[in-house]
C-alpha cells in the first residue's frame, strides 16, 4: 500500500491552487493539509504543519519560491509548478527535483505522483539554483546605458558610444552623432559593466574599440588612439596600461 503524503500547496493565485487541489483529488494517498498564499505565508505554514511534500510556485510576492526554500528549516520534497519556459526549467533536472508546467496536465501530474519516492530530499542549494536560473533568463549582455536629464531618461545604445571620458568629477558618454551625455556612472563601474569591446586605456577614459581609426605610438610608452568620428578625437593611454593594450591590439 502507498504511504500517505501530507501535502502543502503554495501559489499566489487562488485559481491555480484550486486547480491543483482538484487535480490531486483522485490520489487518495495525497493528503492536502493546507495552502500557502505567498512565499512568506508558505514558509510559516511549512514550519507549522511540517508537510512531507509541497507544490511550489516560483514567482510570488514577499519571498519567491527560491527565497522561501532557502529560509526553510523543515525539508519537504518539492514539486515546482510554474509557467516558466522550458529553458529555465532545464536547470532543475540535475537535482532530480520535479516540476510541472502550468497549465498542469493530468498525465504529467500522474507521472510526478508515481515518481514521488525517487525525489531527493533537499541536498540542493536553492539560492545558487535561483542564481543559475536568473542567469539563464538575464543572459543578455547589456546593450544600452541610461542617461538622466532631469526627469527625462535617454537610452544610449552601446554601439553608438565612441568613447567615454571623465572631466573633473563628471563622466561623459561621447556618441556617434557628435553629442555628449553626462552619466552618473563612474569610469570604474562602467569598465566592469561594459562588454569586451570597451577598453579602458587610461584612468579617465574608456574607448569603444570598434571605433578606433588609428593607433599611434605616443611619448613615454603610451599610445594615442585616433577615434573614428568626424572630430578624429585623440585619446592617450597611460603607461601602466601599455602592456595590456599591446596584447589586446596585437602590437
Amino acid at each position: 500500500m502507498n504511504k500517505t503524503w501530507k501535502t502543502l500547496i503554495i501559489d499566489d493565485e487562488q485559481l491555480a491552487r484550486q486547480r491543483l487541489i482538484r487535480l490531486l483529488m483522485p490520489y487518495n494517498h495525497i493528503e492536502i493539509i493546507g495552502e500557502g498564499l505567498n512565499g512568506q505565508d508558505g514558509l510559516e505554514k511549512i514550519e507549522k504543519l511540517k508537510p512531507e511534500l509541497i507544490f511550489l510556485d516560483i514567482e510570488m510576492p514577499v519571498f519567491n519560491g527560491f527565497e522561501m526554500l532557502s529560509k526553510l528549516k523543515h525539508q519537504p520534497k518539492i514539486v515546482f509548478t510554474t509557467a516558466y519556459d522550458q529553458y529555465a526549467i532545464k536547470a532543475f533536472e540535475e537535482g532530480s527535483i520535479d516540476y510541472l508546467l502550468k497549465p498542469v496536465e493530468t498525465d504529467r501530474l500522474e507521472k510526478t505522483i508515481k515518481r514521488l519516492q525517487e525525489l531527493q530530499r533537499q541536498a540542493v542549494d536553492y539560492l545558487s539554483l535561483e542564481g543559475l536560473i536568473k542567469q539563464m533568463q538575464v543572459k543578455k549582455v547589456i546593450k544600452t546605458l541610461t542617461v538622466k536629464i532631469g526627469d527625462k531618461i535617454l537610452l544610449i545604445k552601446l554601439d553608438s558610444i565612441i568613447y567615454i571620458d571623465a572631466e573633473d568629477k563628471y563622466v561623459f558618454l561621447h556618441t556617434a552623432d557628435g553629442k555628449k551625455h553626462l552619466t552618473d556612472f563612474t569610469i570604474g563601474s562602467l569598465e566592469e559593466k561594459l562588454p569586451e569591446q570597451f577598453v579602458r586605456i587610461h584612468r579617465g577614459s574608456i574607448i569603444n574599440s570598434d571605433y578606433i581609426r588609428e593607433i599611434r605610438k605616443g611619448f613615454n610608452g603610451g599610445f594615442v588612439f585616433v577615434m573614428n568620428n568626424p572630430e578624429n578625437t585623440r585619446l592617450t593611454s597611460s603607461r601602466p596600461n601599455g602592456e595590456m593594450l599591446r596584447e589586446r591590439f596585437g602590437m
Partner: protein, 351 residues
C-alpha cells in the same frame, strides 16, 4: 495649357535662355581665341562682334526651338530625326537672324543667296553637334532616371524595414501571461463557468488586437486603452483583490492616435517589477492627458520603486525602439519615483 503651367514654363524659359545665352557667349569667346591662336594675331573687333552675335543668337534659337517644341509635346523623347531637324531649323533661324543683325550693324546688304554657300559646312557641323547632344542627353536622362529609381527603391526599402521593425516590436504578449491565463481558465471552468467564458473572450479579444492588423502602427487612444483594460481585467481575475487599477483619459486626448501596444508592455512591467512583490493593495494608475502640443501617457503604481540603476529589459527597450522609429527624437520618456512612482511618455499629439 492652364495658367499655372504657363507660369512654370515662363519661369523655366527665362532660366533656360539665361543659361544657354551665357553658354553662347562663352562659345563665341572660345571661337575668337581659337582663331587668334591659329592666325597668330588678335581677330579684328568686327570679327569678334560678329562671332559673338552668331554664337549667342544661334545657341538661343536652337535652345528655344527644342525647348518650346518639347514643352508643347510636338518634339518627343526618342525621336532622333525629329530632334536633328528641329535643331537644324533653330540653327538656320539663328543664322539668318544673325546675318541680318550683322548686316545692320556693319551696314552691308543682307541677302539670303549671298551666304547660301556657308550653309554646306554649317549644317554638317550642326548635324554632328545635334547628334552628339541627342545621345549625350539621352544617356544622361536614362542615368538620372535609373538613379531616381534606385533612390525610390531605397526609400521604399527603408519604409519596409521600419514597418517590419515596428511589427516585430508590436505583437509580443508574454507567453508566460498566456499560460497563466489558460491555467486560470482551466480552473474556472469547474468553479464558475460564466467567469471562465468571460475570461476566454477577453483573452481572444486581446490576442485579436495583437495578432490581427499588425500593419497599423497607430491606434485610437480609446482603442488602446480598451485593450489595456482587457489585459488588466484578465490579470485581475488571476490576482483577485491584490490588484486594483484606474484609468483616465483626458477629454482633449480622446480623439488622438497613439502607437499601438505602447502601454501594455509598460503595464506588464509595472505588474512584474513593481507590484509582484506586494501581497495586497497593489494599485495601478494609467493616465492619458493632453499637454499643449503633446500627449502624455503615464503609468504609475504604488509598488517597489524603480532601482537607481535601471535594468533595461525587453519591455522598456522595445518602447524606446518603437518611439524612435515613429517619432525620431521628438519624444521623451521620464522615469520617476517621487512624488509618485511612474513612467511617463510624451509624444507629439497627432490627430
Amino acid at each position: 495649357m492652364n495658367f499655372a503651367a504657363f507660369k512654370y514654363l515662363n519661369r523655366n524659359l527665362a532660366k533656360v535662355n539665361l543659361n544657354y545665352g551665357l553658354m553662347g557667349v562663352a562659345i563665341g569667346l572660345l571661337i575668337c581665341v581659337f582663331e587668334s591662336t591659329i592666325t597668330e594675331k588678335f581677330v579684328s573687333w568686327e570679327t569678334a562682334v560678329a562671332t559673338m552675335i552668331f554664337s549667342t543668337i544661334s545657341t538661343l534659337t536652337v535652345t528655344n526651338a527644342v525647348y518650346l517644341l518639347m514643352c508643347y509635346g510636338v518634339l518627343r523623347k526618342g525621336r532622333f530625326w525629329q530632334f536633328v531637324l528641329v535643331y537644324l531649323l533653330g540653327l538656320v533661324i539663328g543664322f539668318e537672324f544673325s546675318y541680318w543683325l550683322v548686316s545692320l550693324i556693319f551696314n552691308f546688304h543682307y541677302s539670303f543667296q549671298g551666304h547660301l554657300g556657308d550653309y554646306r559646312i554649317s549644317l554638317l557641323i550642326g548635324f554632328v553637334v545635334s547628334t552628339i547632344i541627342y545621345f549625350y542627353v539621352g544617356q544622361q536622362t536614362a542615368l538620372n532616371a535609373r538613379l531616381k529609381e534606385k533612390e525610390l527603391d531605397l526609400v521604399k526599402a527603408k519604409q519596409l524595414i521600419t514597418q517590419a521593425e515596428l511589427q516585430t516590436l508590436q505583437s509580443k504578449i508574454n507567453p508566460h501571461f498566456l499560460y497563466n491565463a489558460l491555467n486560470s481558465i482551466a480552473s474556472l471552468i469547474h468553479e464558475d463557468a460564466d467567469k471562465a467564458e468571460d475570461m476566454t473572450l477577453k483573452l481572444s479579444r486581446l490576442f485579436r488586437y495583437s495578432i490581427n492588423s499588425p500593419q497599423e502602427n497607430m491606434a485610437a487612444v480609446t482603442e488602446e486603452m480598451e485593450i489595456v483594460n482587457t489585459y488588466l481585467e484578465i490579470e485581475k481575475i488571476r490576482f483577485g483583490d491584490r490588484l486594483s487599477f484606474t484609468m483616465y483619459i483626458d477629454k482633449q486626448a480622446m480623439n488622438n492616435n497613439i502607437p499601438r501596444f505602447l502601454i501594455q508592455p509598460l503595464v506588464e512591467n509595472a505588474l512584474k517589477h513593481g507590484l509582484n512583490e506586494m501581497a495586497s493593495n497593489g494599485e495601478l494608475k494609467i493616465m492619458i492627458t493632453r499637454e499643449g502640443e503633446n500627449i502624455a501617457l503615464s503609468i504609475a503604481d504604488n509598488g517597489k520603486p524603480f532601482p537607481a540603476e535601471l535594468n533595461v529589459g525587453y519591455g522598456l527597450q522595445s518602447t524606446y525602439d518603437k518611439l524612435t522609429l515613429l517619432y525620431g527624437e521628438r519624444y521623451e520618456v521620464q522615469i520617476t519615483n517621487t512624488p509618485e512612482k511612474q513612467i511617463r511618455i510624451l509624444i507629439p499629439a497627432m490627430l
